[in-house]
Symmetry: C2
Subunit: 207 residues, 2 copies
DNA sequence: GTCTATAGGGGGATAGAC
DNA sequence: GTCTATCCCCCTATAGAC
């Protein structure tokens, strides 16, 4: 049983951060929600910023590992040829979208991750960006292989559009409204089709 | 000359909100930056929340009017036929992207607007959403006309993906790095092509 | 490990002089 | 309209008892 104080604080913080934002969530609110004492946060984590890092890391690290695993499978399938664009896109967005169904992680985590990319606080952006950098590079490289007709800066720009669309889909309450598996798969399918269409759009520069 | 205290406070607040986020920006920081007194905020605006509303409204309202104007021109060009998808997309994103060049509004405003769609605070979301609702409905209707092969819920979903990609492009410091007209137009062109490709992607359901 | 109590700072808002 | 001074609240972090 991992229902100890530390875990309850992480769960409460995750939920409150997702609802109201990080700045607006006080340690008092977190410990009250967790049924713990105010001092417990500093005892277990050291500071609010360290707590934020653990809230993100607990979920993001496995998520990013799954992205990399799926990407490597897609690249292995392609051998020396051009890898499948939908497979790459799905490797990137599916782990996040499917996590919506996870009753443990659940919706609040997804909104939190979605928001991570746009969070105002420079501290939070740094925390998330550090954990995301390797993933971003690997996917940009794979996208460049799958889209040989695009120059590098166009691939970078389109990769960012992809992050934006995904992040927004993740924070949108109606997009992840249904906890039903059916709804989640439909949302994922829609997102992948949209992104594939956008990524392989003509640039107006090829002959 | 509108370089009065009220305007200076609005300018300073806009800049600081964009840099650090709204919650993290204190009235003390704003008045210091504006060269005004702390009490001036409550004298001119009544409260911090009212100031936030004016910071957004001052820029968003003209922006949304321009979107509607451009959309109506695109729809008029189409007559009774199917309107041009790129024209609709450009009507939506161009006013925001081109505002990056405006030396008056400038970059901080754009990042602020981009962030508005993903801002954590429920108060801020309400302020922005209220001013955005009419625009969203008009564009969803136009997109449905331009994409008759898509069902309504798919159009809604794709419209949200479009907002996400645009908002992220607006907050990304490298995307709006250059104050140069050339860079801005290239960013806009890339975004429009990506979005058009995504919006008209096949759904996998048509025969 | 978990509590109470409090230090120490910063926040938004306001009263009242000028 | 703009200032100073201040109220009162909530925050994070910590000290020290249990």
């Amino acid at each position: 049983m991992s229902d100890d104080t530390k875990t309850r604080i992480l769960d409460a913080a995750e939920r409150l951060f997702a609802d109201a934002g990080i700045d607006a969530t006080s340690l008092r609110a977190i410990t009250a929600e967790a049924g713990a004492n105010l001092a417990a946060v500093n005892y277990h984590f050291g500071s609010k910023e360290a707590l934020v890092g653990e809230v993100y890391g607990r979920r993001i690290d496995p998520l990013n590992r799954e992205r990399i695993d799926r990407l490597q499978m897609a690249l292995r399938d392609a051998g020396d040829g051009v890898p499948s664009l939908p497979a790459i896109v799905e490797a990137f967005v599916a782990p996040a979208m499917l996590a919506m169904q996870d009753p443990d992680a659940g919706r609040s985590f997804i909104r939190l991750v979605g928001r991570a990319h746009t969070e105002a606080s420079a501290d939070v952006r740094r925390i998330v960006f550090t954990r995301f950098q390797d993933v971003a590079l690997a996917f940009q490289k794979a996208l460049a292989r799958a889209l040989p007709q695009l120059d590098r800066s166009t691939v970078q720009a389109r990769f960012k559009f992809m992050i934006g669309a995904m992040a927004y889909a993740m924070t949108d309450p109606t997009a992840c409204a249904g906890p039903s598996e059916r709804d989640v798969h439909r949302s994922l399918d829609r997102l992948v089709r949209f992104l594939v269409g956008g990524l392989q759009a003509p640039t107006g520069e090829e002959k």
